[in-house]
C-alpha cells in the first residue's frame, strides 16, 4: 500500500509539480481574459530564454559526464563569449545602420569567432587547471575551477568595468515578427531557436554517430576501458571541453543580441541557472540538460511576469529541490552509476 502510493507520487507527482505554475496561471487567465494567451506567451518566452540556458547547460553536463568535475569557470567562458562577440562585431563594423545581408553574414562570422574563442579558451582551462590534477583528490580540481571562475570574472571586470553595459540592438530584438494563436514571436525568440536547435541537433548527432562522439561516450562511461580500445583519453577530454566551450560561445553571442546588455557578472548568474538545469535534467545527460534549461526558462518567465522577479531565484531553486527529492538522479538521469 505505502509502496504503491510512493510509486504513484514519484511518477505523477513530478509531472503535477511541473504543471502547477502553468495550470494555476492558465486558470487565472481564463477567468480574467477568457483565453490562454497570457500564459502561452509566458511559456513561449520561457522556452526561448531557456534555449540559451540549455546551450550553457550542455557544457556543464558534457564535462561532468566525462571527468566528473563541475567546471565552475564555464559560466565565465560564456560571459567572455558575449564580450568577444560584441568586440568582434564592433571590429567588423556591424551597427544599427548595417544592411540585412551584412548583418546576417557579419553575425554568422561573429558566431564562429565567439565559438572558436570560447572553445579554445575552455581547452586551455582544462590543460592548465584540471589536467595536472587528474590523479588528485576530487576536491582539488573543484577548487581550481572556482579559482578559474574568479580569474575570468576579473578579466571581464577589467575589460568592460563593473556595471552593465548596453550594446547596439542589432536585430531589434523585441520587435514582434508575427503572432500565431495569440503568441507573439519576437526577433529575439527566433534568434534563440535558430541558434540553439541546429546546434543541439548537430551535437546529438555527433555524440551518437560520429567516431569521436563514440569515443567521448566510451571515455565518459569507463575511461580505463576506453584506453584499452586505443582511444586517446586526453584528446577526448580536450575535445569535450572544446565542444562545451563552443556551445558557451554561441550562447554568449545569442545572449548579447537577446538581452542587449552585457556585464562581467552575467556568467555567474546564467552559469548558476545552467548548472541547475544540468542537475535538474540529470547531470551527464545531454537531453536532460536541454530539458532542464527549457524548464528553468519557463519557471523564470512565469515567476518574473506573474509573481515578482525578486522571487524568481527562490522559486527556481525550490523547484530544483523538489525535483531532486522526487528524482535524486534528475529528470533523465540514470538510475545508478555503474561501478568502476
Amino acid at each position: 500500500m505505502g509502496a504503491t502510493v510512493q510509486e504513484l507520487l514519484s511518477k505523477y507527482g513530478l509531472i503535477a509539480l511541473l504543471l502547477v505554475l502553468p495550470v494555476v496561471y492558465g486558470i487565472q487567465d481564463l477567468r480574467d481574459d477568457g483565453n490562454l494567451a497570457g500564459i502561452a506567451n509566458n511559456l513561449f518566452d520561457g522556452l526561448s530564454n531557456g534555449a540559451i540556458i540549455a546551450l550553457i547547460a550542455v557544457g556543464y553536463t558534457l564535462v561532468y559526464g566525462i571527468i566528473e568535475l563541475i567546471n565552475f569557470a564555464h559560466g565565465e567562458v560564456f560571459m567572455i563569449g558575449s564580450f568577444t562577440a560584441v568586440a568582434f562585431w564592433g571590429l567588423i563594423g556591424l551597427g544599427l545602420g548595417s544592411s540585412v545581408i551584412g548583418l546576417v553574414l557579419g553575425l554568422l562570422l561573429t558566431l564562429l569567432v565567439a565559438m572558436a574563442t570560447c572553445g579554445g579558451m575552455n581547452v586551455m582551462i582544462e590543460r592548465v587547471a584540471y589536467r595536472p590534477l587528474r590523479g588528485a583528490p576530487k576536491l582539488a580540481p573543484l577548487i581550481t575551477a572556482v579559482g578559474m571562475s574568479f580569474i575570468l570574472q576579473n578579466v571581464g571586470l577589467l575589460w568592460l568595468g563593473g556595471s552593465p553595459k548596453s550594446v547596439d540592438d542589432l536585430i531589434r530584438a523585441q520587435d514582434d515578427l508575427f503572432t500565431v494563436i495569440g503568441i507573439n514571436v519576437s526577433r529575439a525568440d527566433l534568434l534563440a531557436f535558430a541558434v540553439t536547435v541546429p546546434l543541439v541537433v548537430l551535437l546529438t548527432l555527433f555524440v551518437t554517430r560520429a567516431r569521436l562522439g563514440k569515443a567521448m561516450r566510451a571515455t565518459a562511461q569507463d575511461p580505463e576501458a576506453a584506453r584499452l580500445m586505443g582511444i586517446n583519453v586526453d584528446t577526448t577530454i580536450s575535445l569535450t571541453f572544446l565542444i562545451g566551450g563552443m556551445m558557451a560561445g554561441a550562447a554568449g553571442l545569442t545572449y548579447a543580441l537577446y538581452q542587449t546588455t552585457i556585464w562581467f557578472f552575467q556568467g555567474f548568474q546564467a552559469g548558476l541557472l545552467a548548472f541547475t538545469a544540468a542537475v535538474m535534467g540529470g547531470i551527464g545527460n545531454l537531453r536532460g540538460a536541454v530539458l532542464g534549461g527549457l524548464i528553468i526558462g519557463c519557471i523564470q518567465q512565469i515567476s518574473d511576469n506573474r509573481i515578482s522577479p525578486s522571487w524568481t531565484p527562490a522559486i527556481v531553486f525550490a523547484y530544483l529541490i523538489l525535483i531532486m527529492v522526487f528524482r535524486p538522479q534528475g529528470l533523465l538521469g540514470e538510475e545508478t552509476r555503474e561501478a568502476g
Partner: protein
C-alpha cells in the same frame, strides 16, 4: 623468436611497488599463463604491457620494438588488446556498440567480417546484439569483453581472469573458446587464479609471487609440481 619479451620490469602504484622485476616471454602462437594468488601482481603485469601503468624500470619488447613507455593507444595500434579484470564493458552501450569500439583504431574493411567471427565464437552475443551491456549476466559480459578485444585483430591477446565470478559450466565453454581462438592463430597471455583451467589450456606457465616470477615451466609439468599443486590446485 619471442613475440613479447618482458625484461625485469618494476611497476609502482604511487609509492607502492607492485612488480619487483618480472621477466617473461611469449612465443608466437602460444598460450602462456600467469598464475598466482591475490595481489601477486598478475593484473599489474598485464596493465604494464598495455601501458595503463607503465613500468618505472625494465623493458617490454613487442615484435622487436620497446613499448614500455608508449601510451596505451599506440600499444593497441601495434596489436596488443586486453580483456581486463572485471570485464569493464561499456555498460550503457549495446553489445554491438561495445564490439565496434573494440575496432576503434581499425580503418580496414573487414570489421563486419570479424564481427561475424565473434558472433560465431559466442552465439550468445549475436542474440543479445541490441541489448545494453550493463543488463547482461556476468558470463555474457565476459564473452563480450573477450569478443571486444578480438575486434581489434590482436597479434597478442591479454586475458585477465576470464573465469572470475562465472559458473563452472560456463567457464568450461569460455575456455573451449579461448583454445579455439588460439587455434585460429592468436597468441594469448592469460592471467588466472583458477590454475586448473589455465594450466589445462596453456602451453607454458609462470607462477607469480609478490611481484616476482617464482617458477616458470611447461604447463603440464607445472600441474605435476607438488608445490604448485599445494598452493594453486587445491590438492
Amino acid at each position: 623468436m619471442a613475440i613479447l619479451e618482458v625484461r625485469d620490469i618494476h611497476t609502482y602504484y604511487g609509492n607502492i611497488q607492485a612488480l619487483k622485476g618480472v621477466t617473461l616471454e611469449v612465443e608466437e602462437g602460444e598460450i602462456v599463463t600467469l598464475i598466482g594468488s591475490n595481489g601477486a601482481g598478475k593484473s599489474t603485469t598485464l596493465r604494464s604491457i598495455s601501458g595503463l601503468t607503465p613500468p618505472r624500470e625494465g623493458s617490454i619488447v613487442f615484435r622487436g620494438q620497446d613499448i614500455a613507455f608508449m601510451p596505451p593507444q599506440e600499444i593497441v595500434r601495434l596489436g596488443i588488446l586486453q580483456s581486463p579484470e572485471g570485464r569493464h564493458c561499456f555498460q550503457r552501450m549495446t553489445v554491438r556498440e561495445n564490439l565496434e569500439l573494440g575496432a576503434y583504431l581499425r580503418r580496414d574493411r573487414q570489421v563486419a567480417e570479424d564481427m561475424e567471427r565473434v558472433f560465431d565464437l559466442f552465439p550468445r552475443l549475436k542474440e543479445r546484439e541490441r541489448q545494453k551491456a550493463g543488463t547482461m549476466s556476468g558470463g555474457e559480459q565476459q564473452m563480450l569483453a573477450i569478443g571486444r578485444a578480438l575486434m581489434g585483430r590482436p597479434r597478442l591477446l591479454l586475458l585477465d581472469e576470464p573465469s572470475m565470478g562465472i559458473a563452472p559450466i560456463l567457464v568450461e565453454r569460455i575456455y573451449e573458446t579461448i583454445a579455439e581462438i588460439n587455434r585460429q592463430g592468436t597468441t594469448i597471455l592469460l592471467v588466472e587464479q583458477n590454475a586448473n583451467y589455465a594450466l589445462g589450456v596453456s602451453h607454458r606457465g609462470y607462477v607469480l609471487e609478490t611481484g616476482t616470477v617464482a617458477l616458470a615451466d611447461a604447463s603440464d609439468r607445472l600441474r605435476e609440481n607438488p608445490d604448485v599443486q599445494r598452493a594453486y590446485l587445491g590438492a
